[in-house]
Symmetry: C2
DNA sequence: GTTAATGCAAATCCTTTGCAGTAAT
DNA sequence: ATTACTGCAAAGGATTTGCATTAAC
């Protein structure tokens, strides 16, 4: 008997189901489908519209999808639930639509955004993490989460602006 | 002859006028009025709507204002110019309308937001500032700006959630 | 059977834009 | 005189919502 190892997508699906049950919500096919497929495809920094398109294009369960398409409203509602379940994180970097990203199983990281080309780079910085927790604690706050965004010029754009 | 010291509001007005001239923009009464009044009243974390209301209620130059009211469109356009001039900073913390705050003459600071009551607290942390610059530099980026948001529970809400 | 989720389209919120009129250069 | 700003109302993008239908409990 080979004990099959749970894939990340399966884990996301399972945890989401547990979350939903725990909250007294219905565990529907479309919700599980979204959790599983997002964690299988693992897109980075996507908005609601992009997810909808991605699932339409690359999602399994295609035939049934054609007959019972996901509506925009359900995508928004389910993304919101996944954020509350801790599977995704949501942020409104600047303008434009809200961005989501896979959170479960990833270490906490931050973002650098290039003012020139808009490129987004992720980075991990534990020294920073420590400082932030300290900053909250010494002011009597309970730390929950932090987001750091560095605006700058990426190596390429840095060169161009000088030349 | 007493050399009168320039107030902050006057300075903001002057710098804005210089910025506008430098860019070949018109130096209009309404633009100068906005810069001067915002820096006189110094509200914290305001959105476009709030500024409009504040200027209507507390702004000097009231009578003329009644005859030539500021339009929403002009408020948006002028706030944008003030950001580019470096007088204000703009951020889209989470949901809702974009928030502005007075930047000129204030040291760079960050924000803690309470998940419980929504309170926003500002704090300065130079250690953090240094780390951030380093993080950008050692990846080949040119640092421009950074924003840090800590989500947490303020002392009051921290107590309530336990009790 | 009861309760909640879904799709649709309409509504909402915040912001930008086209254009005719007005003010700054 | 020329150019740019302003107000208005309409358009725009992103998200939410009311309600009838359908699925989960």
């Amino acid at each position: 008997m080979s004990a099959k190892v749970e894939t990340e997508a399966e884990r996301a699906r399972r945890l989401f189901a547990e979350y939903l049950r725990g909250k007294g919500h219905h565990v529907t096919k479309k919700r599980l489908f979204m959790a599983e497929e997002i964690f299988r495809l693992k897109p980075r920094h996507f908005d609601a519209e992009a997810i909808l398109e991605l699932l339409r294009r690359e999602g399994r369960w295609r035939e049934e999808f054609d007959r019972f398409p996901l509506s925009r409203a359900t995508v928004y509602r389910t993304l919101d639930l996944m954020v509350r379940a801790g599977l995704l994180s949501k942020s409104t970097m600047d303008e434009g639509p809200a961005r989501y990203e896979v959170k479960l199983g990833r270490q906490h990281h931050h973002h650098m955004i290039c003012e020139g080309c808009g490129e987004i780079v992720e980075f991990v910085d534990w020294g920073h993490e420590h400082l932030v927790r300290q900053a909250a604690a010494c002011r009597g706050w309970q730390f929950v989460d932090s987001e750091l965004i560095i605006h700058g010029l990426c190596p390429r754009c840095k060169g161009q602006r000088r030349g």
